[in-house]
């Protein structure tokens, strides 16, 4: 790819990020294929002493942070790039810290590692977009999150891949005393295959995590999601919710598990799937407790849109396509109220588009 092409592709990647609600030009990082092509740190972040570095910079200047806070064991020499976000204690950052990963070159394999750290009583909001401009390639990522005592983090991740893209991602979050993680994930794409593993380690007393996953599965794509919350801190709690709309001949496997090993812990799993085509969906909620004093619940359902609902909406003037779209929007948007305010319009707009048949 020559220099001119790079500029054009970068602009296209920035435009796609904007369409997903991520305004990189205001500040953020864009990784195109193997490396960062744009890295803008807003004045506000600098002013508050936030470290927002590419992995290359982080390895040179903040190796101590990488070593101290990493949750996963990753051989960084095998990783091409990634980011480090470090929010110092008692620092509240309300503007989303945005990062995008785009695949542009045919056949490229992108391998990234990210570390997000919010020290004690710090607040951070992050938005991440992952997408492709090509029809063949792979994205591999490991993301670690460390939330110190009383820290709060809200995150949104949007996937918008294309057929022929293989994705493997893993996320681990360590959540200490009274810290809270709210994570929202939307996959609106049709990759060849996506494998995702999320592990929430609620080690701190009264630590809490809420995770919302929305998947609009379509085409002949295969989706594998595994989410685990380990409640080892006394009084810790987690709520893992997922809503899957399965169209076409997609195949979706969704495994959600909560493990309680400490007294006073609470966990709830809700996985619901709506089948609109001949897709195959399997959903497996699993609750494990090794303490007498845990309260764990789950709800799971797979079904199609009921004839009663459609008939009702017909009598309100909606035809079959419009009625289906309205129901899908309601189904996917059920958790919208839990999305942090700065990110809510983005999620709302994506759900609106998905309900009409895709992004």
């Amino acid at each position: 790819m020559n220099r001119v092409d790079m500029r054009r592709v970068t602009q296209e990647a920035i435009r796609m990020a904007r369409e997903m609600g991520i305004a990189l030009e205001k500040g953020g990082t864009l990784f195109l294929d193997e490396g960062a092509v744009m890295h803008l740190i807003s004045e506000a972040l600098k002013e508050y002493g936030v470290i927002y570095a590419t992995l290359g910079e982080a390895k040179r200047e903040y190796s101590d942070i990488l070593e101290e806070y990493a949750v996963s064991r990753v051989d960084l020499s095998r990783v091409q790039d990634g980011i480090l976000v470090y929010v110092p204690r008692n620092t509240v950052i309300e503007e989303p810290i945005s990062t995008c990963y785009a695949l542009a070159r045919r056949g490229v394999v992108q391998r990234v590692y990210n570390l997000y750290v919010a020290e004690a009583n710090a607040h951070m909001v992050t938005s991440t977009g992952c997408y492709a401009l090509t029809d063949e390639g792979a994205h591999w990522s490991v993301t670690d999150v460390h939330l110190g005592e009383g820290a709060r983090a809200s995150s949104i991740m949007i996937h918008n891949w294309r057929p022929g893209i293989r994705v493997s991602m893993s996320k681990r979050a360590r959540i200490l005393d009274r810290a809270y993680l709210s994570a929202f994930y939307i996959n609106s794409s049709v990759p060849e295959r996506i494998t995702s593993m999320t592990e929430l380690l609620l080690e701190g007393e009264d630590s809490k995590a809420d995770s919302d996953t929305i998947v609009n599965a379509a085409g002949s794509s295969r989706y594998d999601y595994i989410s685990i919350a380990r409640l080892s801190g006394p009084g810790s709690s987690a709520q893992l919710l997922s809503r899957i709309v399965a169209r076409g001949s997609a195949e979706v496997r969704n495994v959600i598990r909560i493990e309680a090993s400490s007294p006073g812990t609470r966990g709830h799993i809700e996985c619901r799937a709506l089948q609109l085509g001949n897709a195959r969906v399997s959903t497996l909620p699993e609750l494990l407790s090794s303490t007498r004093d845990a309260e764990l619940t789950h709800e799971a359902s797979i079904g199609k849109i009921s004839r009663e609902q459609l008939n009702y909406l017909f009598t309100r003037g909606f035809d079959e396509e419009e009625a289906t779209s309205l129901i899908v929007k309601g189904f996917m948007g059920a958790g919208l109220g839990r999305v942090p305010e700065p990110l809510r319009p983005v999620v709302g707009r994506i759900i609106e588009e998905l309900s009409r048949g895709g992004m």
């Binding site: 009921s306 008939n311 017909f314 009598t315 309205l326 189904f331 109220g337």
Partner: protein, 229 residues
């Protein structure tokens, strides 16, 4: 005028209404009564065009247009609205449903929401966990949001307290005042005590609809002599 001419309705291959002839005039409230299981709801659903309620014989004419063969959404778009007796729980936030209806029909119902005391339901899934009275009020409001020419109301007064009946009656009368032709199915007839602008009265018995003069006359006749009269 909404005219139902010689309608026979089948559900699952079984004839549930043998013959229905009735007329709903704009700006008036007509009433349809009949014993349990007589086919009143099936008749209304067939007029609205809901799949599964097959019109075997007869025509439905709305302001001169034959709508018998139209799909339900086309009938609704032309101004025919039905308030269901038991609306299903929808996977749609009530606020979104009202927004879509207001957009589609150019209606404004914000003030009425407050008057009907249903503001607190707007961010919930429509009809999910609503009380009987809440369901009836919300359902009537969805009909109003369609700014219809004709409204078919299936037992708007069943299972609600007297206070709610008064509120619902006020809404029904305001529909008629604005020129909407209303057909109300009622069992107990409570709602008739609060309604003006009453039109014709019909009784559906043993599969046949017959006109019994005015709505009040029909109601008094049922009270005095029963449906067989």
């Amino acid at each position: 005028m909404l005219e139902v001419r010689g309608l026979a309705v089948e559900v699952d291959g079984r004839r549930v209404v043998e013959r229905a002839d009735l007329t709903v005039e704009r700006g008036r409230i007509s009433v349809l009564m009949g014993p349990n299981g007589s086919g009143k709801t099936s008749l209304l659903r067939a007029i609205a065009g809901i799949p599964g309620y097959r019109i075997a014989v007869g025509r439905i004419i709305m302001d001169g247009e034959d709508i018998t063969e139209l799909p339900p959404w086309e009938r609704a778009r032309r101004g025919l609205a039905i308030a269901h007796q038991h609306p299903p729980e929808l996977e749609v936030r009530l606020r979104d449903l009202f927004t879509e209806l207001s957009k589609r029909y150019g209606s404004r119902i914000g003030e009425i929401c407050s008057e009907l005391g249903i503001d607190h339901l707007l961010d919930r899934k429509a009809f999910s966990g609503f009380s009987g009275g809440e369901s009836k009020r919300v359902e009537l409001l969805t009909v109003m949001a369609m700014a219809p020419r004709y409204a078919l109301l299936d037992e708007p007064d069943s299972g609600v307290d007297l206070e709610s009946v008064k509120i619902l009656s006020g809404c029904i009368e305001s529909l008629a005042r604005s020129g909407v032709g209303v057909l109300v199915i009622t069992h107990q007839g409570h709602v008739l005590n609060y309604l003006g602008r009453l039109g014709r009265g019909y009784i559906l018995h043993e599969g046949v609809v017959r006109e019994e003069g005015s709505a009040l006359e029909a109601f008094r006749r049922v009270l005095k002599m029963g449906y067989r009269g």
